[in-house]
């Protein structure tokens, strides 16, 4: 009964809502290969139990072809997921790993060797308190999250320790995702407004650096206020700023 599910895409669902995925149902949409097409992929907030699909987080139901569904929710606490890029703070060194706070329930670990060009002899220069941009290669409920600062080809690819300057602050996870979306209006508009460097972690941490401290601060404030603005309001605000003193 995928049709029932699809009909709900974009609407609010609550924990406890459930859908039947029974393919033998009468109003199954006839598809060429039901077994293949009906293979529903459950994203965050949804889980399967037998032939039922259960909602366990409140939010909006989202859908991506062919059959991927997930719940889009507004949360503040980050739950690490594999493959996501995050901004972390190095909290301690122990043995051959760094402990990095990424805002999850426990600290993630990062090996000395997971940096571009790092070897046992040539250790990266990382100090406690440094900011890092890194990718999660292990993240699941049973294990400690693990970070790397290299891609599969062994390149830094933008990851690693942040340079001096810049400002780190927190935004909601939803805003971070909006900034990272492939066609983000928000991002485009910001870039028009100021030249700046911006790093967005999926964990809701944002690092910005612009020409001068004042501009950096304005930018940070602007982003924080974007949290609750409709696109129209936002454009008005940006417009005002563009004409303003800065």
């Amino acid at each position: 009964m995928l049709s029932r599910l699809k009909a709900k895409v974009g609407s609010v669902l609550l924990p406890g809502d459930e859908f039947c995925l029974d393919t033998t149902g009468a109003d199954t949409i006839s598809l060429a290969g039901p077994s293949k097409a009906n293979k529903v992929v459950c994203g965050p907030g949804l889980r399967r139990s037998g032939d039922r699909l259960l909602v366990y987080k409140s939010g909006l139901l989202r859908h991506k072809e062919p059959n991927m569904f997930w719940m889009d929710a507004q949360h503040k606490r980050y739950v690490p997921a594999k493959g996501e890029t995050v901004i972390g703070i190095v909290t301690s060194k122990s043995g051959d790993v760094f402990k990095v706070d990424i805002g999850g329930s426990e600290q993630a670990s990062l090996s000395y060797l997971a940096f571009e060009g790092a070897t046992k002899r040539n250790r990266p220069n990382v100090q406690v308190g440094d900011l890092l941009f890194a990718q999660l290669i292990v993240a699941n409920k049973d294990m400690e999250a693990e970070l790397v600062c290299v891609d599969s080809a062994g390149r830094a690819n933008g990851m690693g320790v942040f340079g001096a300057g810049g400002l780190l602050f927190r935004v909601s996870l939803g805003l971070a995702r909006r900034l990272l979306a492939p066609q983000s209006d928000l991002r485009a508009e910001l870039e028009q407004l100021f030249p700046c460097e911006m790093v967005v972690g999926m964990n809701g941490r944002l690092w910005v650096k612009s020409t001068g401290v004042q501009r950096t601060l304005v930018l940070a404030n602007l982003l924080e206020s974007c949290e609750n603005l409709t696109p129209v309001q936002r454009r008005q605000l940006f417009g005002k700023l563009a004409q303003g003193a800065l």
């Binding site: 366990y56 949360h75 329930s105 609750n228």
Partner: protein, 237 residues
Amino acid sequence: MIMSDAIFSRPTHTFDGMMEECSPSTVSIREFGCEQNLLSRSDGSASFIQGNTSVLAAVYGPAEVKVSKEIYDRATLEVIIQPKVGLPSVKERAQEQCVRETCEASLLLSLHPRSSLTLVLQELHNDGSLLSCFLNAGCMAMMDAGLPMSCLFCGVTCAIHTDGTIITDPTAAQEAESRALMTFAIDSKEHQVMMTSTKGSFSVQEMQQCIAVSQAASEKIFSFHRESLRRRYSKSV
């Protein structure tokens, strides 16, 4: 203790939280309302108002857990109830147990093993049906925090007046006049009884009637849940 300070450390100015009200029609419960996401430091928060009774709830977690409280295959949930004045006493501890075990039954704790969840419930004003308000505020705050839940729940209090009539969601004065008081937590899936806590003596029939009335009242609260969520998400598309 720190948690409760956090609640008061910020004025309740709101970002995208909103106030909504709902006037019940058939089963008579007082006007109730809820505001979500009104605290910035917690991972989820809600205030719940039933008539003049109001409760503020904050959720923290999943966060790091103390080794002594770590459970290897699920999250550790802690519920802290703060009375309006004074220190929590044995009565609050018993209520904490009721709220905690109800939350534990609805949360999917196994999805966050070896982590801690904390629910802080601050009584703002008590005008009867406080335990049900704790439950309602707690549920809304957990929803706001996006914790995985198998279902929602709500709390309903019923009082049996000395003349035998059943009053749902009684005020403090009505509670004082009643000869029995029952609070139920009802789940959103099957509308069954998750929690009961009673005071006074009553017959079996009376209790069954109260359960039926509470189940009817729960429908309203659950549809309110959905409606308030819908409005909240309508803003951010």
